[in-house]
């Protein structure tokens, strides 16, 4: 990762400059050797720009929200920021350690116990064994699954599964946390606990970037919001202004 500056200093936590991401849409969907040979050297594909020329900066210690309709490119942009996709144009500079929660509990092995999965998941998210061990009690406590921690996670209820995954992810203490639509996990009490955790996060100068369809949540948590439409940035700025404009556009479309 280039351009690393220590947390809490001047300068932006995230800089995106002209980020574009395209996908190839193949007319023939079946990926078999036969179809590749049949169509010969002719490549039958269209380029689809899921994200086009997006630039923004997020200062340290902010919660930055991404809103937009389904298919507007939010998740693609988020995955590009999380390094899962590589941008086809432009660049992303992140200062500090990045952790992404695009899906909680991805990488859990159903046959392994909650305890074993905490260590596995922690290391997938970039922690060393020692670091996980130091946070182990906190993670278990946060998730509220103490009684079942030595049971295989396949026996967990979906709520427990998600809570455990979420607990591991928030305790990785990254400088930048990337979150996709997962704040709605668990019951009311758990959501309240998560909200507090995020507030604590940004209070420590960490940066959160999140996608949500809940405008209530966005208003509640974000200082800045970007509105994505058809792969481009439609608006960016203070939360209330952007959310209001977005709401107005939805209303005018549905009436």
């Amino acid at each position: 990762m280039s351009g690393v500056t220590p947390r809490g200093t001047a300068g932006a936590a995230i800089v995106a400059e002209g980020v574009s991401k395209k996908f190839r849409l193949f007319h023939e969907r079946n990926q078999t050797l036969k179809s590749a040979i049949m169509r010969g050297r002719r490549i039958v594909s269209d380029d689809f720009w899921a994200v086009r020329d997006v630039s923004f900066e997020v200062p340290h210690g902010q919660t930055f929200g991404l809103i937009g309709r389904n298919g507007s490119g939010k998740s693609t942009l988020l995955k590009t920021l999380a390094r899962i996709y590589q941008p086809d144009e432009g660049r992303v500079v992140m200062s500090g350690r990045v952790s992404s929660m695009l899906e909680v509990g991805s990488g859990f092995h159903p046959e392994l116990s909650g305890r074993e999965n905490i260590f596995l998941n922690g290391s997938i998210l970039g922690l060393t064994r020692k670091q996980v061990a130091a946070r182990f009690d906190e993670i278990v406590d946060f998730s509220g699954v103490e009684a079942f921690i030595d049971q295989p996670v396949k026996n967990y209820s979906s709520g427990m599964y998600v809570r455990l995954g979420f607990a591991v992810a928030v305790h990785t203490e990254p400088d930048i946390l990337i979150v996709d639509e997962i704040l709605s996990v668990g019951d009311g009490a758990f959501r309240e606990k998560s909200r507090k955790k995020f507030a604590e996060f940004t209070g420590e100068g960490r940066t959160v970037i999140l996608v949500s369809h809940s405008l209530f949540e966005i208003r509640d948590m974000c200082q800045q919001v970007a509105w994505m439409h058809a792969g481009r940035l439609r608006a960016i700025g203070a939360t209330d202004d952007v959310v209001e404009a977005y709401e107005a556009s939805i209303e005018s479309e549905s009436s």
Binding site: L33, L102, G107, H109, L112, S123, I124, G126, P152
Partner: protein, 272 residues
């Protein structure tokens, strides 16, 4: 950060993914890790029955070990081969069977095929340990050769992993690959002197021409199996040509696999 340094920096993840494979494999079985011994034993019994008792293959006795047991001779070649196929089959599928992980979290993807190589190596070591004891019981003395066996394991692992990494990338583009590999590997096994002695190939060459031997010797696995067999069954130092062929094949395979994989891994998430 270069790819190699990133791999080293995240080595703990490799360890954890390896443990995931090891622990997950035999969960909910009564016999647990014993299965990793039962599997090769069952194969040994069937092959010995067919090829030694019925077809009367007679491999040469070990020199200087003096062991003359077909089943043991077979296992000295079959265990390395089984390791090879497990690494290739597992490695090829390692990307396509971890879609959930690859599309949701960033980490160096090479850890996935590498974790198959390592977790399978644990099983392989146990098997080799049991085999060594059996060889010792039947009059051999493999102990002083075990350090060189470890070297041979590393060579075999590199050869298999390189192949697995190239095929894993190909498999993302064409899922035909894993089915193709499933057909190719058994054929490859029968073209490698594992269940029959190399003397049978030489006998055939006398009838059809010396080129047969040359073609067989182009197979890297022949040399790798020969290294294992000489060390374990004969308790002797393998010939320099076998070592050389094995090392060259392993280096070429691993470097190519590493190159192909690291060049393509950033695009894996969108291709899946």
């Amino acid at each position: 950060m270069s790819y190699g340094r990133e791999l080293i920096a995240t080595r703990e993840l490799l360890l954890n993914l390896t443990m995931r494979e090891v622990k997950g494999q035999y969960r909910r079985t009564v016999l647990g890790q014993l299965w990793s011994i039962i599997n090769p034993l069952a194969t040994m019994v069937v092959y010995t029955l067919v090829f030694s008792l019925l077809l009367r293959f007679e491999p040469p006795a070990g020199v200087p070990s003096g062991i003359d047991v077909y089943a043991l001779w077979l296992m000295c070649g079959l265990l390395p081969w089984t390791y090879f196929t497990r690494v290739v089959n597992g490695g090829v599928a390692s990307i396509t069977s971890n879609v959930g992980l690859i599309t949701k979290v960033y980490f160096p993807r090479m850890h996935l095929p590498l974790s198959i190589t390592l977790s399978t190596a644990i099983t392989f070591s146990v098997e080799l340990g049991v085999l060594s004891i059996a060889l010792w019981v039947f009059g051999g003395f493999p102990l002083p050769w075990l350090p060189l066996v470890v070297v041979a394991v590393v060579i075999l692992a590199m050869f298999a992993t390189g192949l697995a990494m190239m095929l894993a990338i190909l498999n993302v583009h064409f899922r035909d690959t894993q089915h193709f590999v499933g057909i190719l590997l058994p054929m490859w096994m029968f073209l490698t002197p594992i269940i029959y002695p190399f003397s049978l190939v030489e006998a055939a060459a006398e009838r059809t021409g010396a080129w047969v031997v040359t073609v067989f010797e182009l197979n890297p696995m022949l040399h790798i199996v020969q290294v294992f067999r000489t060390l374990l069954y004969d308790n002797a130092l393998p010939g320099p040509l076998d070592w050389l062929a094995a090392i060259v094949a392993a280096s070429v395979s691993f470097s190519l696999g590493y190159l192909v994989f690291s060049r393509n891994e950033r695009r894996l998430a969108e291709l899946l």
